[in-house]
Symmetry: D2
Subunit: 135 residues, 4 copies
């Protein structure tokens, strides 16, 4: 059976979008993941702040890494995000997962996205389906 | 007062992330928007399908354009997305908004994301806050 | 195999809460349900309007009946509701389901709640898990 | 200006649905509320467990009391709930709120629902709109 770190590497090495956005792993364990990335000019929207897809993508990657780190392939089925504070150019965002529930069929994660000042900029909720297929 | 098309252009011309992903406008009217984009290699995740952030970003841009087209600056406060079918390399995605509710304070939109075969690949729900500030 | 009507009766006859609230069936078919109920004094909250739990409960019952009518026992795993208009004493509420997706594992329903004036008072989204167990 | 306890009493004394379900206050402070109730036969659904509307109603009342306790009338605009464990007859449910964000316009609360064994049976997320009107 593969370790969380090995599963992360298998996933991340084949994940061009997470790489394009510059996501970097801080920590990965069974059911837990911490990622960070920096907001660049390419990530802004028409209001001059980070596009909502940026914080979402960071959280969605953290969800995928955390839930798959348990050894069973898991896919997102429903996610929601609340944008609480503006995300500006050059902000450094950190996504930290918290596993709220995990069964053989589904698992629920809450993910906090904070900036470099420890302000929570978004809160994400993600439900995954466990396919049953081992990594 | 600006037209929906003028507001769209003001927003889109300053929205590098929507451009980076290759989003193209099909139609914009008061409270309605239709956008499309094609999935490239850069948009894939560790399962070889489009990263969840891709369909989310397309829908989130459609939400922003549709809700702002009414002339008042509006910002997303809560969004959710259900991923229903896999999105593959080269798929052409179309986001079509439907306004469910609009008051002076908030508005609610549902957005369908379909692929080139008219399969619904994701359903998005977005709630915006109306700042009261005119475009 | 049982019909949607038979499954509904098995469920409803053992569902004291739906009966307590006075829910009545209008129509049940495979993956579809329409229910109504009237708002009584007991259902109000501290603002003198219907408690949010009333529209939620009506939609949640409609979700259960519609998703189980397909013959496989299905349980709700995630639901959300947007309250769009006030619900007053004596209002007659109708919940109408729309199946957005159905696989062997999960299904997604949107449910509109309208009042006697055809105003949409709430929109509900419900995701169910298919246990695989037949009715 | 009224205290959280005074606002709670004004709301609860005019809230027949919360009383019908037997909700009892454990604690109320500015932006925080803890409520409990016991599951009776009337609250069951067609699977012989508590109707989803029961945990939802408890959480929705806790949301209303916590968010209004800050002194400004606040109404729910979007809520979601994940049902994690079955709720049985006679279970004693406790809802505990956590304020995640609060501005002059909106506030976001997460609410845990636990049973008498401290098992989390449901997790609720609620977004309220601040009307600006004082209690």
């Amino acid at each position: 059976m593969k370790t969380p770190q090995q599963i992360f590497e298998l996933m991340y090495n084949n994940d061009p979008f997470s790489k394009l956005l510059g996501m970097k792993l801080i920590e990965i364990t069974d059911g837990y993941c911490k990622l960070h990335m920096q907001v660049t000019e390419q990530m802004l929207n028409g209001f001059g702040i980070a596009h909502g897809g940026i914080t979402y993508a960071l959280a969605d990657s953290a969800l995928a890494f955390a839930s798959n780190a348990k050894g069973i392939q898991s896919v997102s089925i429903e996610t929601s995000i609340n944008h609480l504070s503006k995300v500006a150019l050059n902000d450094i965002l950190t996504a930290t997962t918290e596993e709220k529930n995990s069964t053989s069929r589904t698992a629920l994660y809450f993910i906090n996205i904070t900036n470099q000042n420890h302000t929570v900029v978004a809160i994400f909720k993600g439900l995954v389906y466990r396919t049953g297929k081992e990594w």
